[in-house]
Amino acid sequence: MLSDLDFDSYWAAVDAELAAVPARPVLDLVPERTTDESTSFTVRLTSIGPYRIFGHLSIPTGDGPFPALLHTPRYGSVNHIPHPNDRSRYVVFAVMHRGQRRADEAFSAAYPGLLTTGIDDPASYNYRGIAADCLRAAEFMMSLSEVDPARIAVSGDDLAVLTAARRSGFTAVRVSELLFYRAMEARLTSSLYPLEELNDHLRAGSSAEIVGNTVAYFDPFRHASAVAGRTLVAVDDLEWSAPLIQAFPAAGVYKLTHLDGTDSEFLDAWLAELSGVSPMTRFLVG
């Protein structure tokens, strides 16, 4: 069982290590992605390691400051470029963590494999660096003069929760597709990836105790109580997710319908309302 003391000291060490590394951002204009609605850039930043990570940034056209939206990376080699709907309404920053495409010069993540890379030791677990990459992205986005500090959101999976917990200033947190929540139980329910990676790793000789201890540092349940912003958690199974929902100070829950057009519009509208912008649908009706 991971103690609170170990949990806190682990993450304090990540913060300290990150604070010692200058971000040194470099922005390059992307002409083909720049329109009347927004201006787009690629961004390179230094995270712990040191490691250069990558991101897509866009700034809406007009007089700011604007609401801001940080997209934490999904589990996979590629993250899409932020949608034009988001680029027109928010300062939006989508970060690629170490090992993902565009941030893979020194390390290329394996799929399957990333989830268990270094997992037998929390200090060397690759997700420690990945979490730091998200924290660095948050710091960068919050430093932009175009960002309205009263309207800063983060959207994503467990990494969004972790980022909102460890960096103050997020006023809205939109969460879906959790990976680390009760992962050691969830891995037993099917042979589907990515959680099957945990089973593969255990078959290869590791112990459930060691793996369970490491993933506990990343379980959103452990981070939820430190999230200050309004939170929406989109879930499939209300009963399974209830302990997590209750752990947030200010969380609502959205039960996914699996009509993904409907789900997408609800999640967009929730954040739009909190951010003071208009909701938009990705399915063009005109």
């Binding site: 949608h83 799929y111 699996h258 057009g261 063009l284 009706v285």
Partner: protein, 313 residues
């Protein structure tokens, strides 16, 4: 208000379309497949044996895949090629082996395990050399999936009369192209939310990626629009569709912002084979997931008759 089922999706058929793809297949045949299967005990389970796979494809490139078979069933097995989406990496298809199939999850060139020579990046594949159909990035990519079928045809543990194709989005689109290029080898196709159909029309109906890559390309290179149109016509699923002979399951989300339903309906009209169409109101690119997987599973079982009966989904 959009009426996707009534929309016209125009596509020109290049005069040398058949010759172009015959030449690609002929070039593939110059290279021995040289498949190498390596059993992976740590990835295998009490139900499934997992193999790492590499084989040779168009241009002599080595292509990776995962191959799984049911541990407790006696071959020959019915077989599936599972085809990945645009931004996804193929996972190890244990769930299909648990249902009684030999399953080959292919990683066409550019995917992580097959990108040592060709690596257009993501975003990037859709517009890689898009002005020249002879060097368009998707040429080898399409043929890599065809060669995966050839790998299965070469396996003594696979029943050659029971090979199917399964995928969604890019996997759905390439299910159609592969079935068209190997009409004698494919017993059925399950294609969800098919991508790469109506390639020039789709970017006018959506602002979502990956089709937005074409809008961005043309924003920077507006004079290339005719060359792009000419090039992608060789790769458009609508031009492959009449050549598909295998029974085909199509499923579409009627609010799909990634692969507009207009293009899915156009594909349905272009198919002349036995076709089953399922449409899902209020669904976007998931096109009925997760419930539609039961329909897919039943469709494949009807045509490929696996030995196991338990539902994985």
């Amino acid at each position: 208000m959009r009426k996707p089922e009534d929309a016209t999706v125009e596509i020109e058929l290049p005069a040398d379309f058949d010759d172009f793809w015959a030449a690609g297949l002929a070039e593939c045949a110059l290279y021995p497949l040289d498949p190498v299967f390596t059993e992976m005990p740590s990835l295998s389970t009490d139900k499934v044996i997992v193999y790492d796979l590499h084989y040779t494809s168009y241009g002599g490139l080595r292509i990776a895949g995962w191959y799984t078979v049911p541990r407790d069933l006696t071959p020959p097995y019915p077989a599936l090629v599972t085809i990945p989406g645009y931004i996804s990496e193929p996972t190890i298809p244990k769930e299909w082996a648990e249902l009684g199939y030999a399953a080959l999850a292919v990683a066409p060139r550019g995917k992580l395990r097959s990108n040592s020579v060709f690596n257009p990046g993501y975003p990037g594949l859709l517009t890689h050399n898009i002005v020249d159909h002879n060097t368009y990035g998707y040429r080898g990519f399409y043929l890599d999936v065809v060669r995966a079928v050839d790998v299965l045809l070469d396996r003594p543990d696979v029943d050659n009369a029971r090979i199917g194709l399964q995928g969604s989005s890019q996997g759905g689109g390439l299910g159609i192209t592969t079935a068209a290029l190997r009409p004698d080898a494919i017993a059925c196709v399950a294609a969800g939310a098919p991508y790469l159909c109506g390639i020039m029309t789709a970017p006018t109906l959506t602002r979502s990626y990956p089709y937005e890559e074409i809008n961005e390309y043309l924003r920077l290179h507006p004079k290339d629009v005719d060359r792009v149109r000419e090039s992608v016509a060789y790769y458009d699923g609508l031009n492959f569709a009449p050549k598909v002979q295998a029974p085909t399951l199509l499923y579409l989300g009627l609010e799909d912002d990634v692969c507009p339903p207009e293009t899915g309906f156009a594909l349905h009209r272009a198919l002349t084979c036995e076709t089953t169409l399922h449409t899902f109101p209020h669904c976007a690119h998931h096109a009925g997931l997760p419930g539609v997987l039961r329909i897919v599973e039943d469709f494949l079982a009807e045509h490929l008759v696996p030995g196991a009966v338990n539902h994985a989904f």
